[in-house]
């Protein structure tokens, strides 16, 4: 049966290898292979201490396994190419089905890359000169570690999928993922410790922990084989095998649960009076507040933002560094913005209802802004005030009084604008399963909103930096209000003009920007009866980029956006500094390098910038000319 399921999975993968998916898969595979290569290099290098490579590879294995366990929870879904539900009516026992699906789970890019990465263990055994037997044990351990990784990942994802069906579970999952992300982002705290360890070796308790985790059992077996302690080898390998079997059993049990129980139907909701909603805009805001409290996904996101802000700002206290404490509120505001920029995507095709109400676009956007502020502002203010008092950093108040209103206003603007301009289509709410993991987070969107929202606070930042003491808070308030008003207005205008395209995008999942022009054969006939319909303003159309293939379009946009970094920021500016002698190192790479490397680096940066600029511009202009040409030809599409 496993063979049949593997064939099915390969068939599905083959059919879904369209341009974008294929690009994602190749990018993922290349990134994974680069990381795997890094792990192997780590195992093959020379170290001052014999124990160091073992500890480093152990840490590498632990992180890699953690990625397998938590990746699906953080990035959504996990591998659902073959869904167990498809087979629920066939006469398999859950365990047999789990066995078949487990077989299919080993087919794919991720297991393959992991296999390559885990070969570091074999490399380590050979490099340390532990003998042929230890290398052979290493090969067996690599296979077992891979099995444990894949099966444990399935088990953990299934457990989380079950847990996240309730509000408490959603909050718990948010807490865990926020703690992990914040921990990773705070890992700089550890860098002095790591540097010390690379010279003098890791402390013993640390080494003990690394091999005590199942991710280190392969390492234990290899080391023991090198020393001829065969009972330990057998115990470690048997432990891995047993763990694999336990994961498989657990997963089978959860599969049975998943296939035989239905999502509990909703409990009766508390109906709030909502007496303050008396007009169109307040009605939208009241409705939106109900979504924040009743939608598990939004609730999960909100708890995540809060936990992330707390964890990120409190963690450095571990090394007595309270520097982030006063900024907890600011971090929270940024994350709430980042997680609420898919308002229309989350609501799904519900948009039709607003399209049928004349003039609803403006009320809808403004109402959502109001609701966002009502959700984001109170915790931001409380966190800021409380942490400033707690840290005793009252000297920071001009900064906070400027940045907090600027970010709240900016967030209220950016979230609605990105929601309209870059929606990520999701399954309609009433068709979603209870499992939050099915709706992966779009990290590109999160990053985009984080950057844009932070950018809206730039005027307030410079006002504090350069102006008199009152300028910052005033600029923060005025700038925040202006951003909320202006970006909201842009969003409303865009929503009004292109709601049908947005609805089609949400319904089909295909962006109207990417639709190819209609075939020429229909065009002449259409032209005669065609009225002058108001066309929405699609930026890509004007640039001619709607005709470019996805990869080419992404390259043009990316190269034209990014070329300025090497060209100006890392090239021309440090060059000017070197020639004038006024050197401020800051983030200029060349200025951190030894004397003789500075000018070559600057020249390379400028060259890179120029290459990006010219190729991006060249490709962009080509498609612009092409689109102009096509629109002049009588049969050239709509």
């Amino acid at each position: 049966m496993a063979v049949l399921l593997i064939q099915m999975k390969l068939a599905v993968l083959r059919h879904s290898m369209t341009g974008r998916r294929a690009a994602q898969m190749v990018t993922g595979a290349l990134t994974g292979l680069a990381l795997a290569g890094g792990l192997i290099v780590l195992a093959a290098r020379d170290y001052p201490l014999a124990s160091l490579p073992f500890d480093l590879v152990g840490v590498g294995f632990a992180l890699w396994t953690a990625g397998w366990l938590l990746g699906p929870a953080l990035f959504g879904g996990g591998d659902e190419t073959l869904r167990p539900e498809h087979f629920s009516l066939l006469s398999f026992t859950p365990r047999r089905l789990a066995a078949g699906l487990a077989g299919a789970a080993f087919v794919g890019v991720a297991p393959l890359v992991t296999l390559v990465a885990f070969c570091a263990l074999v490399v380590l055994a050979a490099k340390a000169g532990l003998g042929a037997a230890a290398t052979a044990v290493g090969v067996a351990a690599v296979v077992l570690q891979l099995v444990v990784c894949v099966l444990a990942s399935r088990l953990v994802t299934a457990v989380l999928g079950q847990v996240m069906r309730s509000k408490a579970g959603a909050a718990l999952a948010a807490l865990v993922s926020a703690a992990i992300l914040a921990g990773l982002h705070s890992s700089w705290v550890l860098s002095p410790l790591v540097q010390a360890a690379l010279r003098t070796g890791f402390p013993d308790p640390f080494s003990a922990w690394v091999v005590a985790l199942p991710s280190g059992w392969g390492l234990v077996a290899v080391r023991a084989a090198g020393q001829g302690q065969w009972p330990t080898v057998a115990a470690a390998l048997a432990g891995l095998a047993a763990l694999g079997v336990v994961c498989w059993y657990g997963w089978a049990a959860l599969l049975k649960r998943r296939l035989t129980t239905r999502r509990a139907s909703g409990r009766p909701v508390r109906v709030a009076a909502g007496g303050w909603a008396k007009g169109p805009m307040t009605a939208v805001a009241a409705r939106e507040l109900r979504t924040w409290s009743r939608d598990l996904l939004r609730f999960h996101y909100l708890v995540f933002a809060l936990c992330y802000a707390l964890a990120f700002c409190l963690l450095p206290l571990a090394i007595d560094a309270p520097i982030f404490l006063p900024w907890t509120g600011v971090v929270f505001a940024l994350w709430v913005a980042a997680i609420s920029a898919n308002l229309y995507g989350e609501d799904g095709t519900e948009l039709w209802g607003k399209m049928m109400v004349p003039g609803a676009a403006r009320h809808d956007v403004r109402g959502r802004q109001l609701a966002w502020l009502l959700v984001a502002a109170p915790p931001t203010l409380v966190l800021t005030v409380a942490m400033v008092v707690f840290a005793g950093e009252s000297g920071l108040w001009p900064w906070l009084a400027a940045l907090v209103p600027a970010l709240l206003g900016g967030g209220a603007g950016v979230t609605v604008l990105v929601s309209v301009l870059r929606p990520v289509p999701m399954t309609d709410p009433h068709r979603r399963g209870g499992n939050l993991l099915e709706n992966g987070t779009d990290f590109a969107q999160v990053l985009l909103v984080l950057i844009l929202t932070a950018a809206t606070a730039a005027p307030a930042y410079f006002a504090v930096r350069l102006g008199p003491v009152w300028a910052g808070p005033v600029m923060g308030l005025v700038g925040g209000a202006a951003m909320a008003w202006l970006l909201g207005r842009l969003a409303a205008t865009r929503l009004e003009s292109s709601a049908p395209e947005l609805l089609l995008h949400l319904r089909t999942g295909v962006s109207p920007n990417r639709r190819r022009p209609a075939p020429a054969l229909a065009a002449p006939a259409l032209d005669r009866g065609r009225p002058h319909l108001p066309r929405p303003d699609l930026g890509l159309d004007e640039l001619g980029l709607d005709l470019a293939p996805t990869g080419r379009r992404a390259y043009v946009i990316a190269s034209l956006t990014l070329c300025w970094v090497p060209l100006v920021a890392q090239g021309i500016v440090p060059a000017l500094m070197l020639t004038t002698g006024q050197v401020t190192r800051s983030w200029f790479l060349a200025l951190h390098l030894p004397q003789h490397l500075r000018w070559p680096t600057i020249i390379a940066m400028i060259a890179l910038g120029l290459v990006l600029l010219t190729t991006g511009l060249g490709a962009g202009l080509y498609y612009l000319a092409k689109s102009r040409r096509d629109s002049i030809e009588p049969d050239g599409g709509p």
Binding site: G266, H430, A518, R530
Partner: protein, 256 residues
Amino acid sequence: MGPSSTDTALRLTALTKTFGRKLVVDHIDLEVPRGSFFGLVGPNGAGKTTSLSMAVGLLRPDGGRAEIFGLDVWADPARAKKLIGVLPDGLSMPERLTGRELLRFTGLLRGMDLEEVERRAGELLEVLELDRAERTLVMEYSTGMRKKIGLATALLHAPRLLVLDEPLEAVDPVSAATIKLILQRFVHGGGSVVFSSHVMAVVEQVCDHVAVIASGRVVASGPLGSVRAGRSLEERFVSLVGGQIPEVGELVWLSS
């Protein structure tokens, strides 16, 4: 042109839509007389939903016009949309609201007075027998309840034309009877209804006008009697869309 100066509730002229390379709606012309109960029938994938979406302003046509009481839906959407109530098929609603909240917020968004909204919402919920599910979210509603709350939303602002896509699809007989009764009352009160379905019996039972759509074109349209031409609607429909009952093989292995 005001709503009173035309006898046509809905007029589609050469309406066209292409998805990719597929011509889904091919120059459809349709006229729905004021005060009629108009049935739109056609096989699956004939272009009914696409045509209705373009007619009410939810999907931008590639060509052609859609007018509601003489007002161009795409050139003057604000005035045209005031006159219509729409119930699409398979689209989402504000799912995390109760029925009453949904009606209240929709009414307020339309700029209606809160008291008036509450009064109408109460009546609609009572007539549609949704007042027993006051604390249930729309996302927990059954199919029949979803159609009923959708109809209530479409009726809330007292439109002159109702455009309903498959309003009785997968609805239980009791709810279906309620919906049909309300629609018939609406027509008696001077309203017009356009109603798509692929169940001939229902169309024959409630509609006075009918149009048959196949492969994105209107193949017959007019008063029910003239379209039927003395036969049952189903027979006429099969002959119009060129279908025939396929030869079914033996499937010998099915008999035991």
